[in-house]
């Protein structure tokens, strides 16, 4: 058993997880804030020089975990670890967001997918991975997207 406590909380215009737009393009310029609890604020120093940060957070409103997930495509169920479903063991979320400014322990962010009140467990500086996009394959997701694109152009 590993016990954790949040270092801060998200203030977001998305009141509920269901209010978070599914597509990144629809939330690209939506602004939010992470309020870092006072005890941890000293650790924010030097973060502002980074354009993006990695957030590890808890799906605090997620229903009970399931090993099957039903993605928002017409593809049936998939193993939960092959999806980004919130209903996963440990209910950990991971987002890379744009960092605007930091003032008085408030980290102002853009292009995020967390609902209001989401507990933040960790912030790390984002360092690009050295991965050639051409070498990335996305399994079932690739096929599902192709099908969606084709249905749109029909």
């Amino acid at each position: 058993m590993i016990q954790l406590e949040p270092i801060g909380v998200v203030r977001s215009p998305f009141a509920e997880p269901s209010d978070v737009p599914r597509f990144a393009a629809d939330r690209a310029n939506v602004k939010g804030t992470i309020e870092i609890f006072e005890t941890f604020r000293e650790g924010l120093e030097d973060l502002e020089g980074f354009s993006h940060i990695v957030l590890i957070w808890r799906f605090h409103k997620s229903e009970e975990a399931s090993l099957d997930a039903t993605p928002p495509y017409d593809v049936g169920t998939k193993g939960v670890f092959a999806t980004r479903s919130p209903r996963r063991p440990n209910a950990l979320g991971l987002s890379i967001v744009e960092l605007d400014t930091i003032e008085n322990g408030c980290v102002h962010i853009r292009n995020f997918d967390m609902a209001d009140g989401t507990p933040i467990l960790d912030i790390k500086p984002y360092i690009p991975e050295n991965i050639d996009p051409a070498s990335v394959s996305l399994g079932w997701l690739e096929e599902a997207r192709k099908a969606v694109l084709e249905s749109l152009t029909d």
Partner: protein, 181 residues
């Protein structure tokens, strides 16, 4: 648990119901790194390092459909990390930096993150490449790596900007292992 949790300011008391988060490991990561000393300090330094991720039998059903992905994100417990300081001197620097502007393993919630290459899945065990974690590390989550979420463009990396190029060659010294027993 660090002392600084117990004297957390009153401003977070309203989140008391959210404050206790309990996680359980879903598997174990096996790597050639049995000691902290000599470990690569960033994924770039773990390039080509092979290992396995053993998923406990109760969670194996969740691995279905994972095989088609080339890269995975592993979240794990930095289990040998104990306590933390909010200002640290990073491996590739000589001055103190705010902890959250570094990848130092000693953090309030010691959760580590690595992007690995998936080589194969068999009987609840993943064969992976590009590992930069210690042997025996408890696994917390597996997510598919999706470039549109996980690979950003036009990135600035603050104080790391100049140090980045040297990261791949650098190996960890004993700076963070002193308190490890």
């Amino acid at each position: 648990m660090s002392e600084s949790f117990s004297d957390a300011s009153g401003s977070n008391s309203q989140y008391a119901t959210l404050m206790n988060i309990e996680l359980q490991s879903i598997g174990i990561i096996h790597t050639p790194f049995t000691e902290l000393k000599g470990m690569p300090i960033q994924p770039a330094g773990g390039a080509g390092v092979q290992g396995t991720v053993e998923i406990f039998s109760t969670y194996r059903e969740g691995l279905a459909d994972l095989g088609g992905f080339s890269h995975l994100i592993l979240l794990y417990h930095l289990h040998r990390s104990d306590g933390y300081r909010l200002r640290v001197v990073p491996f590739m620097d000589t001055v103190e930096r705010g902890l959250f502007a570094t990848r130092a393993p000693k953090r309030p919630n010691p959760i580590g993150l690595s992007v690995v290459k998936l080589v194969g899945v068999e009987d609840g065990t993943l064969q992976v490449e590009n590992l930069d974690v210690l042997d025996g590390t408890p696994l917390l989550d597996i997510k598919p790596f999706v470039p549109e979420f996980d690979a950003q463009e036009n990135v600035r990396t603050g104080w790391l900007e100049n140090a980045r190029k040297r990261v791949a060659e650098k190996r960890s010294d004993e700076r963070f292992s002193k308190e490890f027993s």
